[in-house]
Subunit: 374 residues, 4 copies
């Protein structure tokens, strides 16, 4: 049986997932057979170009039509179009993989979670950094107790693409479409990753303090000739910080920004336990720094051995993989769950849990006080 895949969105994430789908047969031969079936978008010309390039046999400008035709639906559009098509697909019994964050608002995210709960097909939230081999390896170390009792988590995600005040306005800078800024775009990844790695050990987030800041309040919209047409308001945060108290008494500190000169995609997570510590940085994603009981310093581990998660599918030790490989792993796991009727993590439930944290950080910032999370 071949799974026909429908994909809404053909820009950055569309390319990343299409590539992942294309690479499965050669490297994950036991993955389900799939066809890149229908690519969904609004601009017919651009859509046709993308479909050819990304290897889709059909296009559709109406996502409802697409859902009727496919076995699996990928929602890779902007945040404000996540809820409706995803819910419709789930109601039609079509498994959904949706990009993160789940939705611009907690209400929409809740509706999506509920739709997933009612459906008996997988509904996945595409937190791709869970699928970095070094992160999976870290997860295994923590589960095995190598770090002891977890006491502190530190996450940050630094980018620099908005440092220039003349950088163009985009949908990601609009509160209605994006929900939030650095918080939802970058912080969602960090909060999910922290939960993935230590959630079982620290028992969930008890309460948070939040701080959101916008450094540049309006940005130009450029016409085709590069002239400024107008200035539009930036209605999301350029940077956020958050403090977290976990149920276990562990503490966390989180931060993201799009204004950190010199940091392109610097997503870092650091964890300290009673027996050891670890550090991960996305710009060196093949590496994990690990300190275990008895060690005098961090070991810089190149997580490219055959025994490392997913690595046996790729290349010999020391032949590093890239950012895009996380999508291949994610698609492999998701499609395997679809084909085998299994569960997929991170689910919409998890996407909603992250959304609750994002929402709590925003409320904490607005109120100037710590906010309980459930």
């Amino acid at each position: 049986m071949t799974l026909n895949i429908g994909v809404l969105g053909y820009r950055f994430m569309g390319k990343a997932h299409s590539n992942a789908l294309a690479r499965l047969p050669m490297f994950f031969p036991d993955a389900p057979d799939i066809e890149r079936h229908t690519l969904v978008g609004r601009d017919e010309e651009a859509l046709a170009d993308a479909a050819e390039r990304f290897g889709f046999s059909h296009t559709a400008t109406d996502w409802e039509d697409a859902i009727d035709e496919v076995d699996v639906f990928y929602n890779l559009g902007p945040n404000h179009v996540h809820a409706e098509p995803s819910i419709a697909a789930l109601e039609a019994g079509v498994p959904v993989l949706c990009e993160k964050p789940l939705a611009p608002t907690l209400d929409e995210a809740a509706a999506m979670r509920d739709a997933a709960a009612d459906a008996d097909v997988p509904a996945g939230t595409a937190f791709n950094y869970r699928f970095v081999p070094a992160i999976r390896y870290a997860k295994g170390l923590i589960e095995d107790g190598e770090l002891g009792e977890i006491r502190q988590v530190r996450g940050r995600y630094l980018q620099d693409w908005l440092v220039d005040p003349e950088a163009p306005w985009a949908w990601r800078l609009d509160g209605d479409m994006a929900g939030s800024g650095a918080l939802g775009d970058l912080g969602a990844h960090t909060l999910d990753l922290a939960d993935f790695l230590v959630g079982d050990e620290v028992g969930g987030v008890d309460r948070v303090s939040g701080h959101l800041q916008t450094f540049v309040n309006e940005r130009p919209v450029y016409d085709e000739d590069g002239a400024v047409e107008e200035y539009r308001d930036v209605t999301v945060d350029d940077a956020y910080t958050a403090q977290v108290a976990y149920d276990s008494g562990a503490i966390g500190s989180f931060e993201a920004t799009r204004f950190a000169e010199g940091h392109k995609n610097d997503h870092t997570i650091e964890i300290h336990g009673s027996k050891g510590s670890l550090k991960f940085s996305l710009e060196r994603l093949n590496e994990l720094e690990v300190l275990r009981e008895g060690d005098r310093g961090y070991q810089t581990v190149l997580v490219t051995d055959e025994t490392d998660p997913y690595v046996d599918h790729w290349w010999p030790p020391g032949h590093v993989i890239g950012w895009e490989h996380t999508f291949v792993h994610e698609n492999y796991d998701f499609l395997s769950a679809v084909a085998e009727g299994g569960a997929f993590e991170p689910s919409f439930e998890q996407g909603y849990a992250v959304q609750k944290l994002l929402d709590a950080v925003v409320r904490a910032d607005e109120r100037g006080e710590w906010v309980s999370v459930e």
Copy 2:
């Protein structure tokens, strides 16, 4: 003229400052002549040993006597003995260099600040990390506008000496004597350093959110044979985090812990501006990572050139200095101010300003809300 120096405290800090005093003549020949005159402490035997080793000609078990005899008074005792002797010295017209944090409570720190304001001799707070050449070099870059408008500050101070729950109780773990734990001991350094580096640019702290946590609530007191005599309560924080909003709209995040396995003395400060960024780490204190306009990545600068602050007094380029050298620079500047009747920074006023931040972080933690700083 020779300045007779009186020093209260002969343990870690006593050794650090005594060494600094001893090294001045060879490396800073234009420093005032000094004599290590009186060492003050309670245990006469240990005191006599220390005095001989540290090169003091006299000892005293009563600090009041010492103050009468000396030209300059160093208060290097535990935090709870900072206020009274320092104030007495200042009232007697004796310049004071006091270890940080200024006092266990804000009230005591205020009294010290007031005493300093009333005296016309220098009253310094010994934030020695201001005297790292790489930090001074960073300060110069920021003052020269090389980083542009400052937007984000990130500071953390990680140690690991309390990870073991059987590590012994000490005065630093008692709220009455120490004031606070990681916050006052380590965080005070970070908050001072942030203010030193970017205070002029970001206009002071507007408000803070705080989080203090104690992971191990009691600790053993050991007798001489290593047997546990009793368990005493730990009444300070083992770790803290803080969020900071500056007047200018810049934001900060701060953190310290004594529970970070694998980090011995890892004091890090990172700053992002509209034109550049920099990173400093105390465990590699001869280096500064700098990214300036036009750079594509951080330059790892070895701050050991003749033209670098204080470095011409020491060794040729590439011949690195150590932690203790910061005390030599600090003593040189302080004693020069004493001799020349000049000002010394960081002053008690600055020590008090840091104390206000520490106090605000504690109150913010207690109240669960952001607290305004003045």
Copy 3:
């Protein structure tokens, strides 16, 4: 027009090139259309499996048959089967891309070079590390004179897969089949890379001194149950070092080993010129450390900007690529040259030039003296 590709070899390199061919359409849409046509090997069953997985429509156990059927021939077999099929293909007017080193002996490499000179189709040597974006970026800096006059080159390639004396015997350890060991397998890459980067500036190698050493002289051959069948002699070097004098007066030092515990694929090249320096390491292949005139330290540059070589075909800044991407770039350039009738570098001529260096290092080692290169 579609180019039918024939590939001899279906193991490590077969997989790497097949993947590259498969990825061209999505990421390099202006690449020539190709078909993965015929896969050549001896073991029919394994071959059929590989052909299906790698997307080849045909298989052949006789390379002569394959050459008749295809437009382009990839020779990815062991070194001792490089010469005959490659020469036959070129004589038939079929372009050839051959893995490195060109041949086990200088004579065979010379014959291949001559065949390439007589053919008017591209004959490429697959030194894939030339196609790392950071290396291309480095090449541009050197060509632009950013490093000034080149004075020193330092290259090393460290692996650890033979540290265990019970690691199994393999064809790479046989002098007749492989030519040499660490020298030909790893050193060939380094010597080519050095020539690519600074060859124009330093005017070629004048003479070399060589040192080859074998640490473990025989190794087990295991049967299917993991029992040792026999021990076979290791007749190649486990490690080599070389000193190089360039025509310009520049000097080089080179080294490779398969016995460096903790180094999986650590290929490093460092260059010092009169104005600057640079450092590259394959395990962090997205980065280049660059020091230019006026810099105080190396900049750690993440070579993932749109303006960086090849990068605009992939992902946004900071989204790192992997080892395999070098093959995509190489295949793109090679196939473009085939389709457009252009030249491809590195050619067989260049492969021969590297072979001369390998040969000179071996002779220098045997003679215990410096050996002139031409």
Copy 4:
């Protein structure tokens, strides 16, 4: 009893050793009592200034006079004045600590070694890098077999102070006075360090290949106003490389340069054994990178624990020391040997052994062939 110390030379090394002597009482209270007695030099005015600054009670312009007056003689002058005064001191029964390399020529070094053999007082060669705690810690690991059988040693020493062709001529650039250039000044350190660390394991050097190169053949002598008075020939190497074959079959590669832009004092040594590896870099001298059996990557060890060599004399863990501390350790060990009638390593015998290597590298370069050592 107090040892009166006489020191020839009051520039860089004079300052380094004077400082070391001054620091002993406070940090190494069990060191012999010493007096900085006589400082020897030719320029009376500069000498008097230095004596005051360095704390010497007497000066002498004739080293023979000084030797008569002192209990210990430090020869810190240029290389060409090492032999005669050192030999005279030893013949007078005065212990000698002489800076490295032992002499400009092998003959002189042999005479010094012979004089030391005939004397029954310590004669030390001041290879101070043996006294870095991280190096001592490394030595312990190797002796304990943690690295297994040693197979490869790699040393390099990179500086940049001659990159500028207008940098002034100095005695270090004259073959008669200095013996050699980068080889003798920097390479001597590396070769000694390699021998210290692995000499016992690899059984000494069997033979070497050498390469010396001068990039800038003459340099200006400036007058007091900064005008060029004349150009003098550079008659030493600006850079060298060497290949080494050890008795055990282990191999080495060594290199030094004064032309490496961006490297101030970058002395690196790397060792690979059958069970582990280690890396050390002088610019981060508090750290050692260690990989032991079972480790997946190098541990970055901060060698500042109380249990680390010499460290208990200084500061708590994480409070890093500097370059100058190596001299304190060296002086402590040397003076203890003098006082206790014990042996000191590295001795003149060891200094001579290094000199033989330097000489062999030079001859190998001249002859263009490997040269046996012994």
